[in-house]
Structures are given as structure tokens and as C-alpha cells.
């Protein structure tokens, strides 16, 4: 188990480094960062001035290694646009995105697990077909469109929920639903498949034969086993939500890490972009690593593959 964990950790570190290198290169491929900082009205002199001022005249490799060395010491540098310490901005905004991600994954699990269980108990029934429809719609519907629909009905027509901001818990309802709904189908189908498999197993038949109550059989014996892969999936999906909240944070004007990432890309704020990509990558890689470990713990066959 230890050697498996070390191997996975090594891969995780390599992936994080690769992501940072690729992102750094892509920033330069999209144009001259000094020009982006100078703005549309800048002359050639202005841009040359800014290039020198921010050190963009140095070789790219030197700039990258310089950043990496400092990042390993926890110093991500200064944001060119926000004029402040990058790490402090990221850690100021990360809790908002984490909260949104947590609310969204909670919504997805609360909706999808019961529906998945019911679908497994009554396969091919009306409720199973309704669940399937929910799953298909959830996979097919673009999150921005769903978000705008929620906003139209709950924000404008019925005036039940605030449209933007993070000033109260009510602000998180629509974004959490919009973000979490996309995850629902996968979790629901996985729960259903797991439950169908478990419910057909011998030990469930034995439990029933012993005369245990159906609900006890279902929740204590069946769901407990069927839900294990769902936990792994949820962990990975939570990481996906942290990175994938850009659209939702933008639509609902939530000042989180996703919105910061979008803004930083637009204004070519190099230090901020590099740090966000690194932080999100590390989160995602850690969650994937965690999921791998859980799976390996539960299924010893994985450790030797």
C-alpha cells in the first residue's frame, strides 16, 4: 500500500508541474502580456516601458524558473492588476469557492442518491424513468442556460432569491443548484447501478431471509456498500466544481476563485493566473489522489495494477 501511495504521489507531483509549464506557455502564446497590461490606448513606448517595468524582457525560461522557485517557498509574487500579494488574494477568495462547491456537491448528493436508490428498488418504473430524464437533462443542459433560467424565475419573476453577491445564505441557493445539477446524473446512475448489483447479491438475500425490515436491509446493508464508489466520484467531482465554477461565479457575480481566474486570464495577470492554476491543480490532484487511496483501500486488486 505504501509503495502504491508513493507512486501515485510521484505522478501527482509530475502532473502539477506539467500543468504549470503548459499554462505558462499558453499565456505567452495568447499575446504579449505587456501589451495586455498597457491597454488598448497604449502606444509602442508605453508598452516597452511596461515590459521593462515588469521584467517581461527577460527570457521566458528565466521568468518561469524564478516564479517556480519562489512559489515553492509560498511566494506567488504580486498581482500586476490588483497590486497586491497573490497568495493573500487567492486565500481570501478560496473560501467562497469552497463554500459554493460544498453547497453544490451537497445538493447533488441529496438529490441524486435517493433518486438512485429508488430507481434501483423499482427498476423500469415511472420513478426510474423520471430519474433517467433528470439525468439526461442534467447532462445535456448547459450550466449557464440553467443558471439564467433559475435567475429569471426565482430572481426576476418571483423575486424569491437575490440575484448576485454573497451577502447571505440565500445568495448561494441558485448558484449551488446550477453548479450541482450537472454532477447529479453521474452520481445518480452510479448509485443506481451499485444498488442493483448489491441488491442482487447473496448477503442481501440472506438478510431478507433472516426477516430484517426492508428499510434496514436497504440502508444498513445495501446502500452502505453500494455508495463506496460514489464517495470516490464525489471527491473528484468536488475538485471539478472548484475549477468549473468559473461560469457560475461569473453569472451570479460571486467573488470567488473562478471569477478571479476568468478576470486574470482576460487581463493577462500572469502571477495570478499561474498561482490559481497551481492551487486548483493541486486541489484536484489531491482529491484524485485521495479517491485513488480510498479505492485502493477498499479494493486491494487496485494496489497491484
Amino acid at each position: 500500500m505504501l509503495s502504491f501511495a508513493i507512486k501515485r504521489l510521484g505522478v501527482a507531483i509530475l502532473v502539477a508541474l506539467t500543468v504549470s509549464v503548459i499554462t505558462f506557455s499558453m499565456i505567452y502564446l495568447s499575446g504579449d502580456p505587456a501589451m495586455a497590461l498597457a491597454g488598448e490606448a497604449a502606444t509602442a513606448d508605453d508598452i516597452a516601458n511596461i515590459r521593462e517595468f515588469y521584467g517581461y524582457d527577460r527570457p521566458i525560461l528565466v521568468q518561469y524558473l524564478d516564479w517556480l522557485f519562489r512559489a515553492l517557498q509560498g511566494d506567488f509574487g504580486q498581482s500586476h492588476y490588483l497590486k497586491t500579494d497573490v497568495a493573500s488574494v487567492i486565500f481570501e477568495r478560496l473560501p467562497t469557492t469552497m463554500l459554493l462547491g460544498a453547497c453544490a456537491i451537497s445538493f447533488a448528493l441529496i438529490l441524486s442518491i435517493p433518486l438512485g436508490v429508488i430507481s434501483a428498488i423499482r427498476p423500469n418504473s415511472l420513478i426510474d424513468r423520471i430519474s433517467l430524464t433528470i439525468a439526461v437533462v442534467g447532462q445535456a443542459m448547459p450550466s449557464f442556460w440553467f443558471a439564467l433560467t433559475l435567475m429569471l424565475w426565482f430572481g426576476i419573476n418571483w423575486r424569491l432569491l437575490p440575484i448576485t453577491g454573497t451577502s447571505s445564505w440565500l445568495n448561494f441557493i441558485m448558484p449551488s443548484i446550477a453548479l450541482g445539477y450537472y454532477v447529479t446524473p453521474g452520481v445518480m446512475r452510479l448509485t443506481r447501478a451499485g444498488m442493483l448489483e448489491v441488491l442482487a447479491s447473496d448477503y442481501i438475500r440472506t438478510a431478507r431471509a433472516k426477516g430484517l425490515r426492508p428499510l434496514r436491509v436497504l440502508f444498513k446493508h445495501a446502500l452502505r456498500n453500494a455508495i463506496l464508489p460514489v464517495v470516490s466520484l464525489a471527491a473528484v467531482q468536488f475538485g471539478f466544481m472548484l475549477g468549473g465554477s468559473i461560469v457560475i461565479e461569473t453569472i451570479f457575480a460571486i467573488n470567488g476563485l473562478g471569477f478571479l481566474a476568468w478576470e486574470s486570464i482576460q487581463r493577462a495577470d500572469l502571477p495570478m493566473m499561474q498561482a490559481i492554476v497551481l492551487v486548483l491543480s493541486v486541489f484536484y490532484i489531491l482529491l484524485t489522489f485521495l479517491a485513488d487511496m480510498i479505492n485502493a483501500f477498499l479494493d486491494p486488486r487496485i494496489r497491484v495494477t
Binding site: D32, A38, A41, A42, D45, R93, P162, I163, T164, A253
Partner: protein
């Protein structure tokens, strides 16, 4: 089952009752909320060159002069009078009794400090061209200063009234030092003499301004009326509209035409289309450096000019405040001659010219653009009708400008806002003085512009610029397209006047 249903209904009812109301919005709490899609973190017009800070610059700070947008005249603001002393020096008398927001008095030291700070290249002002024409300032008395210029710069008054805001002496002296050893001037707390005082900024969320109750009498800006002005960052236009309709916002702009037209049916908002200083143009690769040499032939450029229905684009896509322009400048700018060669919409003539140029069946080329894709697509549609097939490459501005400088674009469809400076030197001189932006480097044009840029005699300037603009239009180095127009949508409760220079003066707004 009934119990569950009752619980859900009760929950929904509670939700409806406790739903948060928008904070600090509208007439009820005397706060004008306006929003754009940009994040503002640095609240200093010298260290943040976004349009938002141009707008806020006029709220929090005062310039030395004030330009009356109705008459075009310059009026006293922080300076009570001014006069040219030769063509490289302006002497100004300053206003007495003005206070900065921190309570300190305004005098010549503040002007000298501001100008000497911003004109020093080492201090890293972002749009340096706005201030680099000033060499330095010197104190001639407690309320009298002289500004020395690097070279004759006749557009000085336009810049002094629009982009040179005065800060207190010593304002930037205690700026924190960044890890790289450079001063972080943009992080200094904003202090000016303007009609609104800075209260707070939360990057990515808002910037709050409060009415300056002690704003000086006699300012041509007038006394501020609304208690608070709050800028909010809301990236998504649909969200901005939703907030406007539910009272969370009072003012938005840059609303797409189709959405603005639909909003006209709402009783709670006013929809207005107003002109801006931004112009659209096509720039041709006249020397063939892009590798596609079609546009080295003047007849091909003429064919393109006759093929594009610019009137239809302004009418159908841009808005009623947009107009077709014949010159490489905005009609409201000083020196922007309008009696230059014009190219009317005539597709038959375009086809004939193409045949004469050796392309009876048209040709295929690459067109580059970065803004309002639909405008460029309309151009492509018009060109297709005469047999010219244009393939669109749509890029971010910085990537495109890089290509333009390298001469890699056969035609680029660009725009220029002139920083709202009402003088052709802010556009024509920038693009046709022989620099990297100049597609033609025509010695005759360069010479005429040099004459216009260095004379302080308005008649001489007008004549020189006219020569340059006539040659640019006649040779079609650029095809000037149209002026931009913006849709503003704001609350019916708001008494607001749009301005032609794309700088909303919120200090003149009031509640009805």
C-alpha cells in the same frame, strides 16, 4: 405525505419572506449603483487605465481645466486662468479656498508635485502618453504655476482637462515598496478635490464613493446631488439586466442592441443610444508585408470601400447615434476635416474595379478583428456580394495588435477610443506619424501631421491635419467606417444626461 408537503410549503413561504433585498440600491437609500463587467482594484486614474477609472477620475478628482461638452470651450476648474508663454510653456493661476478630501488645502505645491510625479517615466504611469508631453512644472507663487512642455503640444488643454488630475503634494511618497523594490503607487488611498470622496474598494465587488459635502462653490461640475455612488462588478450582461430590473442596479451601459430594444418595453427603465469617441476602421496592408498583396493595389482598396454598406451597419447593428465617417478621426475631434474624398456604397462599381485590378472573379484573403464580431461579419457579407471572400480570424486585442505591428494582417478591423481626447492628435497622429501603427508611412502625411502636432495656431493645425486626412482617405490607407454608439439603460428614477465622450458624469445625476 401531507406533513411533508406542508413543511415544504412553509419552507418556501419563509424563503419568500426572508429573501434578501438588494443592499444599498436606488433612490430609497440615495445610492446610485452602476455596473460594468470589469473588476476594479486600483482606484487611481494614473495607475489603472480602464474606462471605469476614467469615469471615477472625474468623480474623485479635479483637473486644472474643465471642458464644456456643449460648447467645446475650456473653463476654469482648479486653475482660474491660463495662458501660453511661447509654444512650450503654459502659465496658470490657481483657485484659492479649495480643500482636498483629507482636509488639506490646495495650492501650487500640489500641482507641481502631481505633474513632476506623473511626467517622470520611472514612476510607471500606465498610459504614459497622457502625461509624457509635460516636461515638468514649476511654482511661480502660492497659487501660480508654469507647466513646461517637452515640445510644442497644442492639444495640451484637452489633456489638462481630461486626464491630468491633481493629487495632494507628497501623495505618493509613502507608497509601499513591492518585493521587487519598486514603489506600489496604485495602492495609495485615493485623495482628490472632486465632488465625491473615496470610501472603500473591494476588488471584484465594488468601489464606494460618498458625496463631498464641502465641494467648492463655483465649480463648473456643479454640486454633487446623490449621496453615494457605488460601482459594482457584474461580469455577465444578463445578470446586469436582471439586477437593473429588480432594483439592484440603477445604471448600466454597453447593452447589446437587441437586448436594449427589448428593454424599451419595460416601464421601470430608460433606454438611450448615445455616441462615443470610439471609431471603427479597416486598415489595409498597403505594402504587402502580410504575404497577401491584394491591397497593395489601390483599385482593390477602392473596390473594398465601395463594397461595404457602412450606413446599413450603423443603422442595423450599431445604433441610431452612430454615423458613417469619411476621415481617420472622430467628427467631434478638433481638426477632423470632413471634406475629404468619400467612398459611397456601390457594389457594381466595386466589381468593375476588381475586374480592372485583375480580379474579375474576386479573391480570398484573411481579415482580422477583435471587437464586435457581428460588425466584421457584416463587412464579410458585403465583400462576398462582390466576389471577395474574407476569412475571419478573431483574436484578443493584445494578440491582434502584435500581428498588426508585425504587418501580418491583410486587413484588420480595429477601433480606437482616443482616451476621449477631443483632438485628432489622439488618433490620426498616433496612427500616421511613421510609427509601428502606421500602415503606410507616407512621408507627405507624416510631414503634415508633424506640422499639426507642433503648431499652436488652430488655423495652421486644421490646415495641416486636413492635408493629412485628405491623403489618407484618398489613398485608402484606412477605410474609416463609423463612430461607435453605446446603449445606456438606467432607472426611470434617475435624472441622467449622456455625454458624447463616453465618460458618464455621475456627479451631475440626481433623483427625479
Amino acid at each position: 405525505m401531507w406533513r411533508i408537503g406542508s413543511t415544504i410549503l412553509a419552507g418556501l413561504a419563509a424563503l419568500a419572506l426572508t429573501a434578501a433585498q438588494p443592499a444599498m440600491a436606488g433612490k430609497a437609500d440615495d445610492t446610485l449603483n452602476w455596473a460594468t463587467d470589469r473588476e476594479v482594484a486600483v482606484v487611481d486614474p494614473y495607475y489603472n487605465n480602464t474606462r471605469e477609472l476614467v469615469v471615477m477620475g472625474h468623480l474623485g478628482w479635479d483637473a486644472l481645466l474643465f471642458r464644456d461638452l456643449d460648447s467645446g470651450e475650456y473653463k476654469p476648474l482648479l486653475a482660474t486662468s491660463w495662458k501660453w508663454d511661447g509654444n512650450k510653456r503654459i502659465v496658470l493661476e490657481l483657485r484659492k479656498g479649495v480643500k482636498f478630501h483629507d482636509g488639506s488645502g490646495f495650492d501650487a505645491d500640489d500641482v507641481v508635485y502631481t505633474i513632476n510625479h506623473v511626467s517622470n517615466k520611472d514612476n510607471g504611469v500606465l498610459t504614459y502618453k497622457n502625461v509624457k508631453w509635460m516636461k515638468n512644472a514649476e511654482k511661480l507663487g502660492p497659487y501660480k504655476v508654469a507647466i513646461n512642455l517637452e515640445k510644442p503640444f497644442p492639444a495640451a488643454l484637452a489633456y489638462l482637462s481630461n486626464v491630468v488630475f491633481i493629487v495632494p503634494a507628497g501623495h505618493y511618497d509613502n507608497a509601499p515598496t513591492k518585493p521587487d523594490g519598486k514603489k506600489d503607487f496604485g495602492s495609495v488611498k485615493p485623495v482628490g478635490t472632486g465632488p465625491y470622496k473615496f470610501v472603500e474598494v473591494k476588488a471584484g465587488e465594488y468601489v464606494l464613493w460618498k458625496k463631498n459635502e464641502n465641494y467648492f462653490d463655483g465649480s463648473p461640475k456643479g454640486k454633487p446631488q446623490i449621496g453615494n455612488i457605488k460601482f459594482r462588478t457584474i461580469k455577465e450582461m444578463n445578470t446586469q439586466i436582471a439586477e437593473l430590473l429588480t432594483g439592484g442596479l440603477d445604471w448600466i451601459w454597453d447593452v447589446p442592441k437587441d437586448q436594449a430594444e427589448r428593454l424599451k418595453s419595460k416601464d421601470s427603465v430608460t433606454v438611450e443610444n448615445a455616441k462615443t469617441m470610439r471609431v471603427s476602421y479597416l486598415s489595409f496592408d498597403v505594402d504587402g508585408s502580410s504575404g497577401q498583396d491584394f491591397f497593395t493595389k489601390k483599385k482593390v482598396r477602392m473596390a473594398v470601400a465601395h463594397a461595404i454598406n457602412r450606413e446599413a451597419i450603423t443603422k442595423n447593428l450599431v445604433g441610431p447615434a452612430s454615423v458613417v465617417i469619411p476621415s481617420a478621426c472622430h467628427p467631434d475631434q478638433f481638426g477632423c476635416a470632413q471634406d475629404v474624398p468619400k467612398w459611397d456604397y456601390d457594389p457594381e462599381k466595386a466589381k468593375k474595379l476588381l475586374a480592372e485590378a485583375g480580379y474579375p472573379n474576386g479573391f480570398e484573403f484573411d481579415i482580422y478583428a477583435y471587437r464586435q464580431r457581428e460588425y466584421t461579419e457584416a463587412v464579410i457579407g458585403d465583400l462576398a456580394k462582390v466576389g471577395i471572400k474574407a476569412k475571419l480570424t478573431y483574436l484578443q486585442y493584445r494578440a491582434l495588435r502584435d500581428l498588426v505591428w508585425k504587418g501580418k494582417t491583410p486587413i484588420n478591423h480595429m477601433t480606437w477610443g482616443s482616451n476621449s481626447i477631443p483632438d485628432v492628435s489622439a488618433i490620426t497622429s498616433n496612427f500616421f506619424s511613421g510609427g509601428r501603427d502606421d500602415p503606410a508611412k507616407d512621408p507627405e502625411v507624416i510631414k503634415a501631421i508633424e506640422e499639426g502636432d507642433t503648431s499652436t495656431d488652430p488655423a495652421v493645425r486644421k490646415a495641416a491635419y486636413k492635408r493629412a486626412l485628405t491623403k489618407i482617405s484618398a489613398e485608402l490607407y484606412w477605410l474609416p467606417m463609423f463612430t461607435y454608439a453605446k446603449y445606456y439603460v438606467y432607472s426611470k428614477d434617475l435624472d441622467f444626461k449622456t455625454t458624447p465622450d463616453e465618460i458618464p458624469r455621475f456627479y451631475t445625476a440626481k433623483w427625479k
